[in-house]
């Protein structure tokens, strides 16, 4: 039993940190323009394809150590997903900045459908995959009776380390740079920030770029961990990451990470100990539960309805 608990904790942490990385894109965009970027999950899906393509291309050109290969992949994937995030905002959301909420929401869904099918048409509908790049892991615990052991794979180590590094960088950027201050002020009051000389359009673009970039990091890590993906993964991953953002309190970056870990852990425990078939149902159920009973999440601030 003990080994299973440890194993699920490790799995949950790895899964959760990926949810967290994607959730940041949702939460930052929501914080700044108050809309759910439905297409964010599809940016992540797109990242998975770019990951596989760049690994295939790089390894066909030259064989190199895995560490170098992965660093190069991240360096290719992140700018490309970030660029997609930027273009997405420019095409679909900027013209609707002052439109009704319903319009912006419908556009976002349209964009999500568009991206899915764009990839389906350009890359084919079937499952894709990459070879296992990192194998093996640490044994954390071995049960003396059944001699089953809890293993933390090296891939999971990479996931945790990369997530930690990205989070710390993001925290530094938001907290201590001029850009971060502009982001925070725009989130608080867009009009006032604009009057004080903050280029809010640029800030919004930057937020999309950061969100999409982190989703790119997430997609490299997921592809590394699971190896297989298709054009539809963005949908489920998107809802789950959004759930994570809601769990943590939408609008809060720390909350998104926390919510991601919470969701990852509870999901992996549920699928490990209860029923793996219904793990998605469980995640969506959790989403609905939180939406109904604690819509502000763990770290969100409550809104007072203005009459």
């Amino acid at each position: 039993m003990m080994w299973e608990i440890i194993q699920q904790t490790v799995n949950g942490l790895a899964l959760g940190s990926i949810y967290g990385l994607i959730a940041i894109g949702y939460t930052m965009v929501y914080g700044i323009i108050g809309m759910i970027n439905f297409a964010h999950g599809d940016i992540y899906m797109l990242g998975a394809y770019v990951t596989a393509i760049s690994i295939a291309v790089i390894s066909s050109i030259a064989s190199m150590p895995v560490v170098l290969l992965l660093s190069l992949t991240v360096l290719i994937v992140v700018p490309i997903t970030a660029l997609h995030g930027y273009v997405l905002e420019k095409i679909a959301y900027k013209p609707l900045r002052h439109a009704q909420k319903l319009s912006a929401l419908i556009t976002a869904i349209g964009m999500s459908l568009f991206l899915q099918n764009y990839i389906q048409i350009s890359q084919g509908a079937r499952n894709q995959g990459i070879p296992t790049l990192i194998s093996g892991g640490f044994t954390l615990w071995t049960d003396k009776i059944s001699s089953l052991s809890a293993v933390m794979s090296y891939t999971q180590v990479v996931i945790l380390v990369v997530t930690l590094v990205s989070m710390l960088t993001l925290a530094y950027v938001i907290k201590s740079t001029s850009l971060g201050r502009q982001c925070r002020s725009t989130q608080q009051d867009q009009m006032m920030s604009a009057m004080l000389g903050v280029n809010t359009d640029r800030v919004i673009s930057v937020v999309f770029i950061i969100g999409a970039g982190l989703a790119g990091v997430g997609s490299v890590l997921v592809t590394l961990n699971y190896g297989s993906f298709d054009f539809f993964i963005g949908f489920i991953a998107g809802i789950k990451a959004f759930t994570a953002a809601v769990l943590g309190g939408i609008g809060s970056v720390t909350g998104a990470m926390l919510g991601g870990l919470l969701l990852g852990m509870s999901e992996s425990f549920f699928s490990g100990l209860v029923n793996a078939d219904y793990k998605d149902v469980f995640a969506f159920g959790l989403l609905i539960f939180f939406m109904v009973f604690k819509p502000t999440g763990l770290l969100g601030t409550p809104e007072v309805t203005k009459v």
Binding site: A56, I80, L105, F114, Y118, F235, V281, I288
Partner: protein, 420 residues
């Protein structure tokens, strides 16, 4: 700015645009994954890159040419059609046109082939779904992205009622529709207090939950294999359309057996129901319930201050929308005689949403036309069939940016002082 300078700026912008398209299309279109290898498709990418760059440049040129700029902006600028008030009386031309359309749709099944007949039935099913969703999105302004769940409940309701209890379609369909209504009410309860984005994502999650349940609860729903209904499943109110049975439809009428009898019957029944539902929806606009929905969409707080119970109103919107979705689902099961979870994915919900958007949120004629066009277009133009979903996405984005209120104006009813 002088002309030279502005052209210089345009070239710079076009070059930047070119770079962006290169980075977007080269990795994802120019390279295709093949297992763990890849193949190059550079011409495709180049086509897109240069095509879009040229378009971008042309737009820039048009914007710099005063003579072209005016008409260009006129066509492409955002126009949000405000509703307009109905004229005092309907013109004779419109009346005869409406009559012609209805008459034609009744004659249609007798003159077209079997294949097109089933396409037309599908179109009518989508009209049904769109009218139902129009109540939720168009009237009440609640973005429901899990509408397919009610469609699924209707279809599975009919299929499972036959599978377990051998209940005939004409009894099973209403039961399934009421079941869908119940499920709609069930969904409405948690989402009553939400609005906008939250509502959208919760309904989305709900739709997925239903699909996953259908997929995984194998003992009850038979899982991914789906439920197969007997062929022919539908009967002429008890008289089967069977070929070999002695007292089947064609023997009783003394006509030759044809596969299309069943489809014609199904089509006509569905057509009658659709016409009834359309009339009901048109009346709704003048009824307190429908008007309350629209008021709710416009301003919930003002609505509450008028003594309107926003909770029950929302419940009704979801329930009624789900009811129509359930009827559509029942007919879907009768048409395909087979249901499986793969027919009830998010894409279906998105399709119906895009129909409602295209028709103009709240405009009933617009929604009906959009539903028929969106189902027939991929059939007519076979080439676009595989970019169907891509098209829906583009339609949603373009419509929201270009014509956020749909292609037609919404008609508001006119109320005149009674002459006393």
């Amino acid at each position: 700015m002088s002309k030279k300078e502005s052209y210089k700026k345009l070239f710079k912008q076009t070059f930047l645009f070119f770079l962006v398209t290169v980075f977007i299309f080269v990795p994802l279109v120019g390279i295709k994954l093949l297992g763990w290898k890849y193949s190059l498709r550079i011409p495709n990418a180049l086509f897109l890159i240069f095509g879009l760059t040229v378009i971008r440049f042309m737009i820039g040129v048009i914007n710099l040419t005063p003579r072209l700029r005016g008409p260009f902006r006129k066509v492409f600028s955002q126009v949000s059609y405000l509703p307009h008030v109905a004229p005092t009386s309907i013109s004779q031309r419109k009346k005869s046109l409406l009559f012609l359309v209805i008459a034609l749709s009744f004659v249609l099944p007798f003159v077209i082939e079997q294949y097109w007949l089933s396409v037309m039935i599908t179109a009518l099913i989508y009209v049904m779904l769109s009218l139902g969703l129009n109540i939720v999105i168009g009237f009440a302004g609640l973005l429901d992205l899990g509408y397919v769940a009610f469609f699924a409940v209707g279809a599975y309701g009919v299929a499972l009622l036959h599978h377990f209890f051998q209940i005939d379609f004409w009894l099973a369909m209403p039961i399934a529709a009421f079941l869908a209504m119940l499920v709609g009410g069930l969904l409405a309860f948690p989402v009553l207090r939400m609005h906008g984005d939250y509502l959208a994502i919760v309904t989305l999650g709900f739709g997925e939950i239903i699909r996953l349940l259908l997929n995984n609860w194998t003992e009850f729903t038979r899982g991914p294999n789906g439920v197969i209904l007997p062929r022919p499943y539908i009967s002429f109110f008890g008289i089967p359309f069977d070929k070999n049975s002695p007292n089947s439809f064609h023997n009783l009428l003394g006509i030759e057996y044809s596969l299309s009898h069943k489809s014609i019957f199904l089509y006509l029944c569905l057509l009658l129901i659709v016409i009834a539902v359309t009339y009901f929806c048109l009346r709704l606009k003048k009824m307190p319930l429908g008007r309350s929905w629209e008021a709710l969409r416009e301003d919930e707080i003002a609505c509450r201050s008028m003594g309107i119970n926003h909770v029950t109103i929302k419940l009704f919107a979801f329930g009624l929308g789900a009811f129509f979705g359930g009827i559509g689902g029942g007919f879907f099961a009768a048409l395909t005689e087979f249901v499986s979870p793969s027919s009830f994915t998010f894409i279906e919900s998105a399709l119906v949403v895009s129909i409602v958007v295209l028709g103009g949120l709240g405009s009933i004629p617009g929604v009906i036309i959009a539903a028929v066009v969106m189902t027939l277009l991929p059939e007519v133009l076979r080439d676009i069939a595989n970019v169907r979903v891509l098209m829906f996405g583009v339609v949603m984005v373009v419509m929201m940016i270009w014509r956020p209120r749909g292609l037609t104006r919404v008609l508001r009813p006119r109320f005149n002082k009674t002459s006393k």
